[in-house]
């Protein structure tokens, strides 16, 4: 067999290689008696440096297999920054409970690595491998509280259902390979229409597998339980950053590779989008546990986000990408507030304003941003999605989304109402730590400043 000579060209891959090295180093160094703060802050610093440097590594590696283009870089910036903030949130939580820190940091970094590879992958096998790297690291993170049965349950559930969905996705990949006889994206594009039945079956299975990861109804069943059971910082992480990566990869595959099947997958996604918005928003209404409520809220957000994919153009996809940036900030922020307040029962949020006005204000900003009320950034990105959808003549779908947005206002405002308008029932016992405060501050500034000056738009 004749193997063609392809240029390896490692240059674009340097950030990923560095991250691999650093994560392994953290594992190794963690074995020695060393102050855990040093590990934590060096990891945060490393991620920040990578975030700043990554735009300079634009290019391709391994021929066409790995592409560090503009969108990929944008996504990686979100992933790295989101991981850094999550790391801060996670560290303060774990430190307090004396849970192994270095392993957690390394796992978080490895999952970030998987995501970075995933958004750059231009080939189905490397896509799948990086997808698994991300998923497996997260499964372990969900069960990091080893002696807590809820955490164990979450991890097992996540792992079982995740494994099932991965299998379905792999099955889909096999179908696509069968139809096109290649795993390379640019070649798949050319031969995707050869065997429509095989390709379409592959497409559906593939979509199902990915929809599971971003918790699209009806593949969302795992999400509330896993979000509730996992340690809150892990929930903050898995509800945001992996979704960035999966949606980034998902969007690219749908828009670029399955362009010729646009009608098929977009009608499929329209149904899923309406279902997701409906179930996410309506089920969030009666929730009594704030983590569960936020879980359903992020399901609902996934519904708005795939509106941008349904558009099926590059600008629609761009809208999804910028949505993910703000979504990451506000969702991690909201979960960080839950950790700060150290309280999961919504009832106990009553009257918190009386004790902690600054925290109450931060929570108010996150809730209004999640609702999508200006001048927060949540509005700008939602506007962007609606704009793209109306451009594609999906006005009726936007009106559906608008109605569900109004419904969502009720449960977000309920939190604000409890905090500001009710008399306290219980003295709150917030857990302050400087890492957590920094994380919340970054999110608040991001959500408000970017709402007034949307510099992040592409």
């Amino acid at each position: 067999m004749n193997i063609p000579q392809i240029p390896l060209n490692f240059e674009a891959l340097i950030p990923e290689v560095a991250l691999t090295g650093f994560a392994s180093l953290i594992l190794l160094v963690g074995l020695f008696k060393i102050r855990k703060e040093i590990l934590l802050w060096s990891a945060v610093l490393f991620l920040l440096v990578l975030t700043i440097l990554i735009p300079s590594f634009e290019g391709k590696s391994f021929g066409e297999m790995f592409l560090n283009g503009f969108i990929a870089i944008y996504l990686k910036i979100i992933i790295l920054a989101g991981t850094a903030i999550s790391l801060l949130v996670l560290a303060s939580y774990l430190k307090e409970r004396l849970i192994l820190l270095n392993e957690s940091i390394a796992l978080l970094l490895f999952s970030a690595l998987g995501m970075m590879l995933m958004v750059s992958a231009r080939e189905l096998m490397s896509f799948f491998v990086s997808f698994e790297l991300m998923s497996l690291s997260i499964y372990i993170l969900a069960g990091i509280r080893r002696y807590d049965p809820r955490s164990n349950e979450a991890a097992i559930k996540y792992f079982m259902l995740g494994g099932l969905s991965t299998a379905i996705m792999l099955f889909g990949i096999a179908f696509i390979y069968g139809a096109t006889n290649t795993t390379d994206f640019s070649e798949i594009i050319n031969s995707i229409s050869n065997y429509p039945i095989l390709s379409l079956t592959g497409l559906v299975l593939f979509i199902v597998g990915l929809c599971f990861k971003i918790a699209i109804v009806p593949f969302h069943m795992w999400a509330p339980d896993v979000y509730e059971g996992s340690p809150t910082p892990v929930t903050a992480f898995i509800s945001t950053v992996p979704k960035v990566a999966v949606l980034g990869a998902f969007g690219r595959i749908l828009i670029e590779i399955f362009k010729s099947y646009y009608f098929e997958w977009s009608s499929f996604l329209i149904v899923l989008s309406i279902l997701t918005m409906a179930v996410g928003n309506l089920v969030a209404l009666p929730q009594k546990n704030i983590k569960r409520m936020l879980a359903y809220s992020s399901i609902a957000h996934a519904g708005y986000i795939i509106l941008g994919l349904i558009v099926g153009t590059q600008t629609g996809f761009n809208a999804v990408v910028v949505y993910m940036l703000i979504y990451t900030l506000m969702n991690i922020g909201a979960f960080a507030m839950v950790i700060l307040f150290n309280e999961e029962n919504i009832e106990n949020y009553k009257g918190l304003h009386k004790f902690h006005p600054a925290l109450a204000l931060a929570m108010l900003i996150f809730m209004f941003s999640l609702t999508g009320v200006p001048p927060t950034a949540g509005f700008i990105v939602k506007f962007n999605i609606f704009l793209q959808a109306i451009k594609a003549d999906l006005t009726w779908l936007v009106i559906v989304a608008v109605i569900f947005t109004v419904i969502s206002a009720y449960y977000y405002l309920r939190i604000v109402m409890y905090i500001y308008m009710k008399e306290p029932v219980k003295m709150p016992q917030p857990v302050f730590s400087k890492e957590l405060e920094i994380a919340v501050l970054v999110c608040v500034i991001g959500v408000t400043v970017l709402g007034v000056l949307p510099l992040f738009l592409i």
Partner: protein
Amino acid sequence: MHEEVAVNGRIKFELRKHLLLSLVILILVGSVIVAFGFAAKNLQYPVLSTLIFFPVVGAAFIAIIPRDKEELIKLSALLIAIVEFVLTIPLYISFDKTTAQMQFKEEHLWIPQWGIKYCLGVDGISVLFILLSSLLTILCITVSWNEIIKKIKEFYGAVLLTHAAMIGVFMSLDIFLFYIFWEAMLIPMYLIVGVWGGPNRIYAAIKFFLYTFLGSLLMLVGIIVLYLYTGTSDILTLMKTPYPYRMQFWLFLAFFAAFAVKVPMWPVHTWLPDAHTEAPTAGSVILAGILIKMGAYGFLRFNLPMFPEASIAMKPFMMILSVIAIIYGALICLVQKDLKRLIAYSSVSHMGFVTLGIFALNQQGIQGGILQMVNHGIVTGALFLCIGMIYQRTHTRLIKNYGGVATVMPAYSAFFMTFTLASIGLPGTNGFIGEFLILLGAFKAWKLMCVLAAIALIIGAVYMLWLYQRVFFEKTNPEFLHHIDDYGDLNAREIITLLPLMIAVVWIGFYPNALLSFMDISVKELIEHVRTATEAMK
């Protein structure tokens, strides 16, 4: 002995308050003089941006004052509001009444990716509301002085932020910017109603938010459609663009959804009685004075000039809805047991007059509509202030608990009488001019509607005078008289609060041209625009 000390303390306290108050008045007078000096020259600074951002900065300043320095918080809020008011004065002096162009224009590129600009300007239609809003904000702060006792910092911050967002709505010349201000105002307003309101405040606040939010989001869809059709978000360009009739019709409905809820027109008015009733006095004043005017302003700024053909087609429908609101609101007022709720429903009726005037689509109707908006802001604002003052003494708003107030609070009764008469529309008060112009316009447009609205005016007189009779005359209720005795008649702070509004009532009543001259040209231009746009389409 102890009593004497207490009395002494109280006198000292009162004295200090009066000193503070006279200081404030001195500053006010002084700064008015300075402002006049300023205005003599051309306005060199971005006057509109200053007006928007000064209260925002002020709110930020209040946020950093320590929580326990309550007097300082109140005083600085008052000072900020007064300075804001003074800053609006040059706007009126340098305003050029001979042109319908946008004045004091400011333009900066804001979101280059979408070509959205930060663009401000005022014309004869919007300029009056800026003055009205600044004036009412001061009064809201003085009336809340003793009424608001918890979370003072947040309250005054929220009032200032609401003011900033509201005047932003009136100044925006970019539809996206307009929407930002339009929605941003919901956040502080939701808090004002929900945190400092009456017993049923949470229900009222949520209802208020959800109603307006749904309407606004439907308008957002309309805004996006407009933006995609024309490729610009500049309001002046959007006005000049002709749209196909079918599109006009749908867009009219999308904008109607937002504005009708805000006005509020029948049948989407049900949030208003709840919000008005439960809000603290300042909240009611802001709601009645400015916030609901934004809906009618939206009709003038967007629906009429942008969708002229649809406006003409929808004219009968809008006029019928307005008349239903007028009559329905008035009839409901007759059976209200709660003072505040009664005034709230009278707002529905009065705003029906405003929309009736606007959709008469002629000079008199629209001018009357705008004037009536200002009048309603002054009179209803004043009535809410009055109710707030007496509620503080008696802690009840039920009409049946009152009676004979005139004998114990003569000054208060005089104020209330003036505002009652203005609300009825007695000649010599501002209410008369507005309603007269509206009826004139409506008569030209559709005689039947004019007759029905005029009949409803009589019901208006009935409920207001009957209210006055039940509260101020009749047999006195000793239990409540006792409360009033503790406080006595209006104090200096309260009189100063009500006086400017009373002057405005009489002044506009005798010399309406003071306000009408501002909008003359702009309204003429608007009517002309609607006519030519419709003819061009045919």
